[in-house]
């Protein structure tokens, strides 16, 4: 979950099915839902990374798609109503998950869903669906630079 558009897309199909647990994973350095405060950015009042004066502070993530200091307000609603919960993964955890999926399945995931893959093992569920939002060809330079 960066700005949250991709995640809300896959959540949408399961919102009304209470048997399905919804879990979002943010980048640890851009976790507006996990560690942000309520602010107003780009026209929405929602959790943002901001200082005590409401000034937006820089997000950091190895993944361009997650490197954003705000999040769509619908995710804040899902968090506050406890319909979804949100975890975080660090750059290193995402890189490790990236390599693991490439080696075990031959699938090169984008760094954004690699954050979700980093938390999959810890979920206690019979069946887990991960939204693999994109392919990792675009991220190879970044990943190789960190290996």
């Amino acid at each position: 979950v960066g700005g949250g558009s991709n995640a809300i897309g896959i959540f949408a199909g399961f919102l009304d099915d209470s048997a399905v647990e919804l879990v979002g994973v943010e980048a640890a350095g851009a976790a507006s839902l996990g560690s942000g405060r309520t602010g107003v950015l780009h026209g929405s009042r929602a959790p943002v990374l901001a200082d005590a004066n409401g000034q937006i502070v820089d997000a950091h993530s190895i993944s361009a798609g997650l490197d954003y200091p705000g999040v769509g307000p619908e995710h804040a609603f899902l968090r506050d109503s406890r319909r979804a919960r949100y975890l975080a993964a660090t750059d290193d955890e995402a890189l490790a998950a990236f390599r693991r999926l490439a080696r075990t399945e031959g699938i090169v995931p984008a760094l954004e869903p690699a954050h979700a893959l980093a938390r999959v093992d810890e979920l206690d569920a019979e069946l887990v669906v991960v939204c693999l939002s994109g392919r990792g060809d675009k991220d190879l330079d970044e990943v190789l630079a960190h290996s």
Binding site: G39, V40, H42, G43, A50, A52, N53, G54, I56
Partner: protein, 234 residues
Amino acid sequence: VRKALVVYLMAGSDTPVLAEAAVEGGADVVEVGFPFSDPLADGPVIRHAAERALAAGMDTAACLGCLEQVRQRVDVPLVPMTYSSLLEAWGWERFAADARAAGATSLIVADLPVDERPAVRRVQLVAPTSTDERIRLGAERTDGWLYLVAVTGTTGARTEASPALAGLARRARSLAGGVPLYAGFGISTPAHARAAATLADGVVVGSRALEAAADGPGALRGYVASLRVALDEP
């Protein structure tokens, strides 16, 4: 009828002296920008000024202090202009009360829709894309005058006067029930100001005023006086 001239300055250590120069040059109202990190209504000049102000420590408390010092030097209406995130952090009504205590006569919150936070009295903005219904609501709720955003874009000097202002001013005139209309965004030269003032009751200058202010109070006074002359020509 004298056309109103509103001059925008960014809050900072020089602002009290600059505000005094603007008023000497003929400004009727001074807007004091409280900088925000992500000012989506602003073009490059005001954005950079905001970055510099934040780097210099102009947080909300410092801006309120600045407002107080400006108030000690000028007796015209003073209007802080800022963004919702600062009010959300400070407390909406607390912000309005503290600004008023520091000498503000009103407030502009550029990214706050007209139907949000009715308790926070402020100058409402309408744009060429506003529907008639929104213009009517803005006029009804505005504090003193209605801000006509002359362009569908951000603040900043333009070479030509906005072709969208005439239509917006005409609609606002018929919908606003006599509320004064001041036009801003893209107005920088005496000729622009004069052209806009044939359509509206006042004009707001921001980016070009900040550029003049960068050369000191004398330059700002001269620039504002050139606008005053253009507005007052019969």
